[in-house]
Amino acid sequence: MLREAAEAFSRQAPGLAFWSLRLVDEWDEGLSMRQGVLLPVHGRRSRGALLSVVQGGGMGYAATSDLSAHGLLAATGEAAAWAEASAGINLVPVDLLPRPSHRGHYQTPIQHPWEGLALTDKLALLADADRALDIHERIVDREASLAYRRTDVLLVTSSGAWIEQRLHDLTPGLRAVANRGSLTQQRTGGGAQSGRRGGLEQLAALGFADEAPQLAEQALQLLDAPECPEGHCDLILLPRQMTLQIHESIGHPLELDRILGDERNYAGTSFVTRDMFGRYRYGSELLNVTFDPGCPGELAGYAFDDEGTPAERVYLIRAGILERPLGGVVSQARSGLPGTANARASDWYRPPIDRMANLNLEPGTDSLETLIGEVEQGVLMDANRSWSIDDSRNKFQFGCEIGWVIRDGERQGMVRNPNYRGVSTGFWRSLDGVGAASTFRVEGVVSCGKGEPNQMIRVGHAAPACLFRGVDVFGGAG
């Protein structure tokens, strides 16, 4: 369908300075069981095209779900009208806009296709997980879910690009809520808030089949756990919280469009400035961060971004020194800085902007036991529950679902409502231990919001456990 539409349009495309046609056919399926009751099974197909046109010194776009030749030509007219209207008042000179010419094909590697398992078998998986969460009357709410997305993207341009990609995402999840009076505690897992690229083989990696009993048990234990102590102490973050920490205080500050000012009205600016690249000490020497679109199973794996730039692994921060930002071809041209293939659009009806993709903190050499052994007094935290950070991505406060006190090098009792706060610029310099590959997990964020008009997109993060020195931690009021 997408090929036919692209070929028909290419044959009839009007003579313009440049055009690009991005066709998307996205299929979502969602199954969810809450408290033993199956929620309505849901399928969603979102199919449409975004036409971008350079004409008369301006650039415009139009999005349409009418993929007939007539529909695409009509959209071309709308895009051309916006191109002409923006000529002379556009921010980016049109000669800086990309004219990709690559031809390529990519498909997410999968072992067990979603379609290979019958609906009844998927429902049985949900029922098993739901039963495993149902361990006590104080578990007042529980939910198990399976969700799948297949995205076909075809990018064709007047400059000769023809790029086809088929992407598969699996986003399952488990949730257990325990309550006693006014006290409620929640644990999530099994892929909740995360997910992976691939097929049903990712269920095991995400812990969907195994984590339910432990999550429910921990939710109950948290009801009786003391509040996280307040103080200035060491902090160990496990990968599910590292995901959020990387996302908010490395990923967003390094987005080049933020540094260039485009996001200042909405998602915010950045404490990072253009002159910092190549010399600024972002973190301790243990901090190594990569942009890696090829990391197996990670949620933003692809071969080309949505402007047709080939994607490759590069270092953003090496031995603590800031090397390059997250910026696509347009932002690179505007800033004069190197970047990454990360111009991405959330949907067929949104234009690409600079996004995170797979952003990973590279593993070190320490086991988790070694990291814990290096802490005299501290807290170990996992699984994000609350997040807030200023518009320069500096002053942050994050909360987790679960924590454990560490004293004299040993993990001790569980604590509830663990929170910590800090400032990005100092926090990463306090990194004093990086877990080995044995602690490394591929996670992600399924709902990263940014852009005007707004775009919600999926990004991947992988990290080991990490140790930070001298952090302000605190709990709830009790």
């Binding site: 776009y61 349409t64 909405y266 406060q397 706060r421 008009p453 709990g475």
Partner: protein
Amino acid sequence: MQGYFYALADRLAQELASGEVLNLLLDGERSDFVRLSRGRVRQAGRVQRGMLGLRLIARRRQTAFEGELSGQLDEDLTVLGAALARLREQLRYLPGDPYLMLPAEPRSSERMLDGAAPRARELIAAVLEAARGLDLVGIWASGERYAGFASSLGQRNWHASASFNLDWSCHLAGDKAVKGRYAGSAWSPAELPARMGRVREQLAVMGRPPWTPAPGRYRAYLAPAALGEILGLLGWGAFGLKSQRTGESALIRMLTEGQRLHPAVTLTEEHARGLVPDFTNEGFIKPPRVTLVESGVCRDGLASARSAAEYRTTVNAGCESVESLAMEPGTLAGTQVLEALDTGLYINDLWYTNYSDLRSCRITGMTRFACFWVEQGQIQAPVSVMRFDESLYELLGSRLLALSAERELILDASTYGGRSRRSFRLPGVLVDGLALTL
């Protein structure tokens, strides 16, 4: 579009078997979006889309599908016909749904909001002209929004509107900036220059050396937009019936321990405001208003059709987060705010709120845009970006001093999935102490 939608509903109803009910839901827009940065156009374009939902119900089983309409009748009927067959096949394998709830009788409705979206391509130059010399960043969004519900049982509902929303900020160096908003259904050529003039006045103050308060409590006035950020977080889940019944509401102490807010606090979901469709996804007609908090005491939760069935109550909302929240005003005149504040923080905007302690309804977040330090009723300096961490039971409880007499209608500028229909009608609040932490 209305006729097209109803024609699809009529045609698909003919394909139903005995005992089947089919609900159709449409959500669409024809919108212009212009992204602005540094006083120029960064990205501009038009989006035309309509997402059609099908819900097939039979033998107390239900299953659903959504798909984009192409606008080509034959093609859409082919796609939807195939989807209907797939849903019918799926139903064979699904258990009965104990929380399936349908309206007892069909109630059709139609609401076409007055207004005409201004012609974006012609106006955008005027917007930039009004901001000449300023470093303006933001988004222009305008056009038509429509929603429809149709049931094979004969119910027909339609909601259509045309509007614009210009949401911007003007920047000095770093994070020193002033926020501007202009939204509605009727564009007034004189209004934007007037609003931009107020932005310029505040920018002059923002140019003064900033003041960085030490962590601690400060007397503060929160303008309606700042209060809206806090109530927006609260409204995401705290008023939902399901979250209240499962102990996940941030108001759990009000629900289980008799905790109260200040008697001056009354919050309602004003469905009658009419900016959001008056029908739910299942075809229920919403009541004109739902009282969420009355004189500081929790009242009704927002009950979607599913929760209403589960907890055996009446449907009073389309979803369990607020869409048309209103707070009753107080008596503090706008002209008296600075005098009443005397010495403290004047906070125009807050941002990125989240819970730091759900049980205590403790909320953290950041100040943003033009926030000022005031002494003896006079604005002295802009305040550096600061983090607050405060319980709602203090902010709108024991520390609440006054509510402003005037309320502001804030039309949500967000555009995730489509232009938002959400709005708030809120006063400002004067509080005797807001805790700054970082």
